[in-house]
Symmetry: C2
Subunit: 93 residues, 2 copies
């Protein structure tokens, strides 16, 4: 699997990420796609993964693995804080 | 494992959930604790699990398993919609 199959969920419209997941499987023929997010966007990564796997790619794609973690980041004021992250691996059934 | 070891993350102050996790392991001697949340509270469940396992119970507790899902719920207006959920199982090292 290459890094091309990783999708980082950000602040774009929600549907963009679902489309990106579906496109990776449908047109790029990926066997796995990793959906990543940090902080408040963790919800969106879970939502996008669920909508893609249960609605758009129902019966074709399922959740293989979910990993949560936290990492120390330095904000613009120079303060260090921990931010949680998630990596959801979806795979072809 | 009994259902006593499940913690549902809601809208209470964040620290309550961390305390609940730590208490289950430290005073109730649980071998596993399941942290659950739905919708927008998924972030908080991940944050609470990370703070509990990496700061308060560092080296003593780790993430065993993470499951994401979605379920159909009916809101107050009688409309059906899908809501994502997460279940994070923490275990004693």
């Amino acid at each position: 699997m290459t890094e091309d199959n990783a999708i980082l969920v950000g602040n774009k419209p929600f549907m963009n990420y679902i489309t990106a997941i579906v496109m990776q499987f449908a047109t790029k023929n990926a066997s796995e796609v990793v959906v990543k997010a940090r902080g408040n966007l963790i919800n969106s990564a879970v939502d996008a993964s669920m909508v893609a796997s249960k609605r758009f790619l129902e019966g074709k794609v399922k959740v293989k693995n979910v990993v949560i973690n936290s990492e120390e980041v330095t904000n613009r004021e120079g303060k260090k804080r921990n931010i949680s992250s998630i990596e959801i691996t979806l795979e072809k059934v």
